[in-house]
Amino acid sequence: MTAAPAALKRAARALWPPVVLLAVVIGAWQLYTTAAGIDPTTLPSPARVVEQGWANRADLWDNTLPTLQETLLGFAVSFAAAWVVAVLLDFSAAARRGLYPLLVASQTIPIVAVAPLLIIWFGFGLLPKMLVVTLTTFFPLAANLAAGFASTDREAMRLLRSLGAGRLRVFRLVRVPSAMPYFFAGLRVSITYAVVGAVFAEYAGAEKGLGIYMQAQKSAFRTDLVFAAVAVTALLSVALFGATYLLQRLVLPWEQALRKENRS
């Protein structure tokens, strides 16, 4: 029972500096817009963004859901594909030689150019957005996972082989657990791209979603609502980022114990 409040206390300690910094920035922005009398279509005050965002919450929510759906589905595909490819790279030297350079090269393809093409090919529905999310998040996940497998201690591999484990069993018993810290590092990098990827894909063409909402509000000179949508996007990203820590605690309970051991 004492663990939970202690964890909360630590979380609070980690969170207050960015919260204070953010408050200062928002405060300065508020002061500037009020004092200088800036036209809200150019730069709305934070108070106005919140107020108008709240007034239009039904609309915002309506457009958040599709974005969230695209993000989660696209990321799920990316997640599964990353595991398949990383395992393939780990098991086959030929795949490592042949596939890995191509994966790296694929990262240089600008999504800006690809997203409109995906719309042409697959229409205005869910699929092209999912694909953009998958394309933007796949590489950091797969690359980190592959690096994680490769980081396995050679002595540990030798021990398992001497104990009679075959290749698959060695993989499951030591290579997968060894890769976990890398995997979570990759997960955090790629999840921050995921929401942005979905919003971007919607920019290229959609019926609903935060991306197309931003575009519509910009055209209507509702800069305040553009900012409100940006804030929602940021909140989604932060929430997903935070979720990776929760997942890590669930999957790797020993890390908590180790941290506690190191503190005492």
């Binding site: 030798r158 021990l159 398992l160 104990l163 060695v170 020993w254 114990a257 180790l258």
Partner: protein
């Protein structure tokens, strides 16, 4: 199927890695239930010898014959931080395809004898050095393979814990009568634990002397102050130095 009186018989084994000759014409024969210590200068190819005996590597020439399977315990304890102590000790069985539940049950039965009771669900980093080493040995022993290869198992422990662990190992060996090959570069450890001490030459290594340890069992800590103990230590030291000086 057993040909002769030895559980482990290494005959005329040589091993080279490219132009580097590590073992040359090495002989090592160990009877069933014998505690053999292999001692030699560092870099004399003890680990290579272990790889050959445990079947991870093949000799360039010569023959390695083992009656039954070999269980290998490496220098580092190699307990996995993501597994609890119980899961770590069950790892060897799991590696052989025993179901997890069964593996845990069989490993768990030995916790009392290994002085690990109450630490089943602890993580390795919560254990002392001696306990980690006992857990690593349990992981090896639970496989019930007749031959144990121990590669400097107590090298990383402080001197007091090391002595304690040596006496504990002597006691466990007395109880279970495994055939043990212990690699060490601690003369006192070799003489305290072993029935026979096999002295290696510098690289390329061969066994230059096989010394019987005629000391009574069970062996106790105060044995090391006896003149008989010192006499055996002296012989091992001489064997090591004659060769090193050559």
């Amino acid at each position: 199927m057993s040909e002769g009186e030895f559980q482990l018989d290494v005959r005329g084994v040589s091993k080279s890695f490219g132009s580097l000759e590590v073992l040359r014409d090495l002989d090592l024969a160990v009877r069933p239930g014998e505690f053999a210590a292999v001692i030699g200068p560092s870099g004399s190819g003890k680990s290579t010898l272990f790889n050959l005996v445990s079947g991870l590597d093949r000799p360039t020439s010569g023959e390695v014959r083992v009656d039954g399977q070999v269980a290998f315990m490496p220098q580092k304890d190699l307990l996995f931080p993501w597994r609890t102590v119980l899961d770590n000790t069950a790892l060897g069985l799991e590696a052989q395809g025993v179901r997890r539940k069964e593996a845990r049950r069989r490993a768990g039965e030995l916790f009392g004898a290994f002085g690990l009771d109450g630490f089943q669900s602890a993580y390795p980093f919560q254990l002392s050095g001696g306990m980690r080493q006992r857990a690593a040995l349990l992981r090896t022993v639970v496989l019930e393979r007749p031959v144990l290869l121990l590669d400097e198992p107590f090298g990383a422990l402080d001197s007091l814990t090391r002595t304690e662990m040596q006496l504990w190992l002597a006691d466990m060996w007395q109880r279970y009568r495994w055939t043990v090959v212990l690699v060490t570069h601690d003369i006192r450890e070799a003489v305290l634990l072993a029935d026979t001490v096999h002295v290696l030459s510098p690289r390329p290594a061969s066994v230059v002397e096989r010394i019987e340890v005629p000391l009574p069992r069970p062996r106790r800590a105060d044995l090391i102050t006896e003149p008989e103990f010192a006499a055996v230590e002296r012989r091992v030291l001489d064997a090591l130095h004659n060769r090193a000086a050559r």
